[in-house]
Symmetry: C5
Subunit: 107 residues, 5 copies
Amino acid sequence: MFIARVTGSVVSTQKVATMTGHKLLVVEPYRLDDKKRQSLVTTGRTFIAVDTLGAGENDFVLITQGSSARLTPETKVLPIDAVIIGIVDQVHIDKFSVYSRNESNDR
Amino acid sequence: MFIARVTGSVVSTQKVATMTGHKLLVVEPYRLDDKKRQSLVTTGRTFIAVDTLGAGENDFVLITQGSSARLTPETKVLPIDAVIIGIVDQVHIDKFSVYSRNESNDR
Amino acid sequence: MFIARVTGSVVSTQKVATMTGHKLLVVEPYRLDDKKRQSLVTTGRTFIAVDTLGAGENDFVLITQGSSARLTPETKVLPIDAVIIGIVDQVHIDKFSVYSRNESNDR
Amino acid sequence: MFIARVTGSVVSTQKVATMTGHKLLVVEPYRLDDKKRQSLVTTGRTFIAVDTLGAGENDFVLITQGSSARLTPETKVLPIDAVIIGIVDQVHIDKFSVYSRNESNDR
Amino acid sequence: MFIARVTGSVVSTQKVATMTGHKLLVVEPYRLDDKKRQSLVTTGRTFIAVDTLGAGENDFVLITQGSSARLTPETKVLPIDAVIIGIVDQVHIDKFSVYSRNESNDR
């Protein structure tokens, strides 16, 4: 899996029938800042993932890719290769907190 | 999934028998422009995807890769690893519209 | 899928038993030249794919990766992750012909 | 598979129900230092993997990606694409020891 | 598949039970030198693959990734994403021999 930040959404009317009603979010994968190792920074990439958890903009989420994206109750038969499997509360690296959802929301 | 722009098509006569009659489009993955974050820009990559939705040149589409490309009614038994699952109407990032199909078609 | 040029072949005697008799070709993925957008250029990568279609050196082919490489009649039980699913006759991008097999063979 | 160093952990409360109780570790893929070829160096990437083996911070581990991440007894039905399948004791390259868990722990 | 050179091995004692007794080799993917196109050069990446064929250090091998790594008799139920499916004897590119196992072993 990888950590990503939710930054937007996609609207698509003409689509494969089974996709109707599924929320499509824009997510940007993040990685550890490799200099200071004290924060998460964007990789500059842009993916689209299905959300079944009610993630909102600026939330950090866990993304599963590939066939395992179909291993949630809501996505079993969908033609998708990326799904949000969790909303991230905290990330610790080298015993340092590099992300905390509460602090982030206060900003 | 990722967002891509349809830019062309491929003709192939000698092919695996099950591929007969399936439209093959050239698609170029796009990502958010990471400076201004106000438009989508090409990643410079070139993929080929099966289209079952009638996507046309310059349309932005959603591409699913891997085994899930076989999870649409028309592609169940095909030896493919990429399919168009939706034609994109709108993409919003940071609450800003970075793509709208209508405006795009007017240009 | 992606477009690749067939540039060579691999000989392997000690191999998984089911691989016996399957042709292994060296293929180099190509992408659109992103400056002029009028020709295909190599990505500099080197892959090996199974060929069941009789592709020859310099042919441009369509490559399927992953589990779908096993979705052809000849490759169902093979431990492979890449197969040639078509020999490319023509590629059009931005309504411009960026590759035509006939012209290419004349050169 | 690839070798990675465990450098942190992720806490997620809102998640797909089946993920409850599974430990999520931050792992950073390593590769051979290609100049001297005598040590492992980070690739600068950041992944999240499920741990069922009790790996601890600074351990080097083997990561399996994709559908095979579901081929362990504890992960069969999980929507995950990365799992730790072993804790690395030693890595030899060119007959040189580039990593030994014991020496590493002494430091 | 891709061509890789076997350069080392990994020892892991604490691991998923089904992995017991399986040989884990360090393999480095190679690609065609894109200037002269007359030799294979390392990509600088480092992978770990299961070996069932008795490959030795410096052998060039064919690596299959993903779910197909489980399509050999010895690896059917293993949580692995990379396996050696053949030991390479010869690689020809542009009709030029870029690798021959016999010559390589003489050096």
